[in-house]
């Protein structure tokens, strides 16, 4: 006989409102092995937990069932509680009678019946529980950050500040990300470069930070505390140890192509740094456009380079590095609005995106900050800004709100008026400015800078002479309106980084239908992923602005710092285990494991007659296994079991519910 204690929680009226606690208690008292039953207003509170510990001691309980909220909320809390009273923490079961019962069943009679069933299930199962022990593993004291935008830079600085080494892998030639492309930043209108560049320089000079630009993550193996990562250092064709960044090479290079950083508005050379404040300030050769790589002739850069840094036979290099934790900070892309045939992006030169406008208005941009419209270089007088382009438009495949464009559109309207006295007509559906100082910023755009806000989506933009006619409805008046604009700015959506899903697969983390990375819990674990040891920062997790990105980067950094500062890591014991005696060695389980935790090994065993034979069996790497249980279903001999969720456990639960 076990001595199981059942603790039924009211959760205020959350559970007690629709579940009859007294009836649940009475039913539980009659279940096999149950020695003690108690109810509590809030079991997770300090008195609630103390009551469990008291009962364990006084009633000599050897198993505990807590009937309360989801185990995702408080299983760990209650494990600590029973552990504190001297019981093995895995001799606890949770019956979720809140999310699975009281919250979804308004009918008290039926709800109570279900609550009793759920408690019975837990009682049957807990009787089969055995004490489990956590193991401990070593931690590599080094962090990897993928992506060198403001999120990656901030996280790197924070981790380095705590004295821990960190490597930043950035795929472009320079760190900085989108923030480096912006002109002024809302809501304070301070210059983006003025606040970003010092951080970039700090990151470059910090002893604890290694920047690997023009590099990409190719392969990730291992697990929390012990990741092995293969990084591809793309051939730069410039020896960064010798190059001084003098710029002679790119001034001499004859190959001109349109600049990615300037979104095609400006030009760059085949050997280039993307922008003047780039870190590192050392060029790369773009093989696709370099005349030498195309025709075998030129080498002008090499000829003129005073330090002899240029070499054409550099090859991509693969390096393998070990890390204890990873932060993914790969950011976003601005959506290409070409699918809006009705707005004529790509057809009319003077229809541009918000990010293109940032380059136009940027003092260090291709027009030196003069807002010349692309078609004829004229300064625009009337500008139409269309909000929610792509965003909130299921027909174009993007259902969500991009969160930043209301604010940056207000910013653009202010800048246009401030710099060239242009009048902005902002077509919006809702103005969403719920940040500190944000509503005030919007107010400024209308009251001080006289931007005309029109509630309605533009239906069509077409060319008439040198004007772009924008047709809309002022939905507040119920009248069709048209504006003859000189320039049209599309506040295009923030979408996932190119190749986001591929990187997710490399890392083994999940992403949502919009290819943004998914956090472990929308409210309570916003910077963690479901894969232990991998964290998220910035716009790769969803559209966000700089303040939010920086806050999240700090949060992710602090998680990493606390992880790396532990001497050893404890692992969950709820992992798969092979019963080698009955494993047939078929290894069906191996390809099924999503975490690559299963491998084959060979065991020696003595058989009848004293002979020793060798036999293949499955072997689980307990550090990689996440206890998902996929393998147990695949195993035909029943040799594979997840501890704490063995076949025996499951059958006991089925019995409890069905017999």
């Amino acid at each position: 006989m076990r001595r199981v204690g059942v603790f039924v929680c009211w959760c205020g009226s959350n559970i007690a409102g629709t579940v009859d606690i007294e009836q649940v208690k009475a039913a539980a008292a009659k279940m096999p092995n149950v020695a003690y039953v108690e109810d509590n207003k809030y079991t997770c509170s300090e008195p609630g937990q103390a009551a469990i510990q008291k009962a364990i001691k006084e009633q000599k309980l050897d198993r505990v069932v807590v009937a309360a909220c989801s185990p995702r909320m408080h299983e760990n809390t209650f494990r600590r509680t029973v552990g504190g009273a001297g019981l093995n923490p895995y001799l606890l079961e949770i019956a979720n009678i809140r999310e699975h019962c009281s919250w979804v069943h308004p009918d008290k009679v039926a709800g109570t019946r279900k609550a009793v069933d759920l408690v019975r299930r837990a009682v049957y199962k807990v009787a089969k529980n055995v004490p489990l022990q956590r193991a401990s593993i070593d931690v590599t004291k080094r962090a990897l950050i993928i992506g060198g935008g403001i999120a990656g830079i901030q996280a790197a600085l924070d981790i380095a500040d705590a004295g821990q080494p960190v490597v930043v892998v950035e795929k472009t030639p320079s760190i900085g990300g989108h923030m480096a492309q912006l002109d002024k930043t809302f809501p304070t209108l301070d210059c983006s470069a003025c606040i970003l560049t010092p951080k970039m320089v700090d990151a470059a000079q910090n002893q604890n930070i290694t920047l690997m630009t023009w590099s990409e993550v190719e392969k990730v193996d291992g697990y929390i505390g012990n990741f092995t990562v293969t990084i591809r250092k793309k051939a730069r064709h410039v020896d960064t140890t010798k190059c001084t960044g003098c710029g002679i090479c790119w001034s001499k290079c004859p190959a001109k192509v349109s600049s990615e950083f300037d979104l095609g508005i400006g030009k760059r050379k085949a050997i280039y740094v993307p922008f003047p404040q780039a870190i590192p300030n050392k060029p790369v050769i773009d093989e696709k456009n370099c005349i030498f790589f195309k025709t075998g002739k030129c080498k002008a850069c090499q000829m003129f380079c005073p330090t002899g840094s240029i070499s054409f036979d550099q090859k991509d290099e693969l390096v393998e590095e070990k890390f204890g934790a990873i932060i993914v900070a790969t950011g976003y892309e601005q959506w290409d609005p070409s699918p809006y045939g009705e707005y004529g992006y790509g057809r009319y030169k003077d229809v541009i995106t918000g990010l293109e406008f940032e380059r136009l208005v940027n003092a260090s941009g291709p027009t030196e900050g003069k807002i010349k419209r692309p078609s004829d270089g004229k300064l625009p007088k009337d500008v139409v800004i269309i909000q929610c382009v792509g965003s909130r438009d299921e027909a174009k495949g993007i259902p969500y709100c991009s969160k930043t464009c209301c604010m940056y559109s207000a910013k653009h309207a202010i800048l246009l008026e401030e710099k060239i006295h242009a009048h902005s007509y902002v077509f919006y559906m809702d103005v969403r400015t719920p940040g500190k100082g944000y509503e005030e910023f919007y107010k400024r755009a209308t009251e001080e800078h006289h931007a005309t806000y029109i509630r309605g989506r533009v239906s069509r933009v077409y060319q008439k002479g040198d004007k772009l006619v924008c047709l809309g409805e002022d939905t507040l008046l119920g009248k069709k309106v048209e504006v003859e604009a000189d320039l049209v700015i599309l506040a295009s959506a923030m979408v996932h980084q190119n190749g986001a899903s591929k990187l997710a697969q490399t890392l083994g983390i999940s992403y949502d239908q919009n290819e943004f990375y998914t956090e472990a819990h929308a409210k309570l674990r916003p910077v963690e992923t479901n894969t232990a040891g991998i964290f998220l920062a910035g716009a790769c997790q969803g559209p966000k602005d700089i303040p939010e990105t920086v806050a999240q980067a700090g949060a992710a950094a602090s998680k990493v710092i606390s992880l790396l500062s532990k001497p050893k890591l404890e692992t969950e014991p709820l992992v798969a285990q092979v019963n080698e005696a009955i494993c047939s060695g078929c290894l069906w389980c191996k390809p099924i494991c999503p975490y690559k935790a299963i491998d084959g090994k060979v065991v020696k065993e003595r058989i009848a007659g004293g002979k020793t034979i060798e036999r293949p069996v499955a072997a689980v790497n307990a550090s990689l296994c996440q206890g998902c249980g996929a393998c147990t279903v695949a195993c035909r001999t029943g040799a594979m079991n997840v501890l704490g969720f063995t076949n025996e456990h499951i059958l006991a639960e089925v019995d409890a519910l069905c017999l």
């Binding site: 239906s459 809309g472 119920g478």
Partner: protein, 211 residues
């Protein structure tokens, strides 16, 4: 202009029920509309309408059936589907307009645009009797019912002279089978109206998917 106050609670659950019915008949979700106005803005006819297409969607959502069915909008809509093509919420507005016209007619609402309704009637009369459209007959029939005898007379005469209008209708061999289609549809519709009047459940399966 005097502004009346709409009492929305007086509409009650009939509001959403009406929107759901219109949506089901038009094969779209009337609740999806978020009133952005992109439909009105692109509608080539909206300048002549009493309610903007967006406002028709609003009337439907609120269940203000009389206002919607008495509007000129539903008759002036030329079915060009500009609205449907551009709606960010994938509302089939052009199909909603069709549904409302059909509803107005079968429930005997007075037509705000008599001439448009008369045209459709005259046109279909021609088709029902001979199997094909008969322009001259249709124009005469239309003119008789609208008393617009002398409007457009110039073009009509030119076309007659150019041989663009035939003096006699084309009657197809299977014209009886076409007449039969009209008959059957009319009967089905009468049954549907009677069913609705008595509040029996819809025989509507298969009518959704109008998109």
């Amino acid at each position: 202009m005097e502004m009346e106050v709409l009492n929305l609670t007086a509409v009650g659950p009939a509001g959403p029920a009406f929107a759901a019915q219109v949506g089901a008949e038009a094969g779209t979700n009337a609740f999806s509309c978020y009133q952005c106005g992109k439909c009105s803005a692109g509608c080539p006819l909206s300048y002549a309408m009493d309610y903007q297409p967006r406002q028709i969607m609003r009337l439907v959502q609120l269940g203000l059936k009389d206002e919607a069915l008495k509007s000129s909008t539903i008759w002036l809509c030329a079915s060009c589907a500009t609205c449907t093509t551009r709606c960010p919420r994938e509302v089939q507005i052009a199909a909603v307009m069709d549904t409302l016209r059909a509803m107005a007619r079968r429930e005997g609402y007075p037509y705000k645009e008599r001439s448009v309704a008369a045209f459709h009637r005259a046109f279909l009369n021609g088709v029902a009797s001979g199997g094909r459209a008969y322009e001259l007959g249709m124009i005469l029939g239309y003119k008789l019912s609208t008393f617009e005898m002398f409007k457009d007379i110039d073009l009509g005469l030119t076309w007659l002279r150019q041989g663009k209008l035939k003096l006699l209708p084309e009657r197809i061999k299977g014209s009886a089978s076409v007449r039969d289609i009209f008959e059957k549809v009319r009967k089905l519709e009468q049954e549907e109206v009677a069913r609705q009047r008595e509040g029996r459940p819809a025989a509507h399966e298969g009518m959704e998917g109008h998109s």
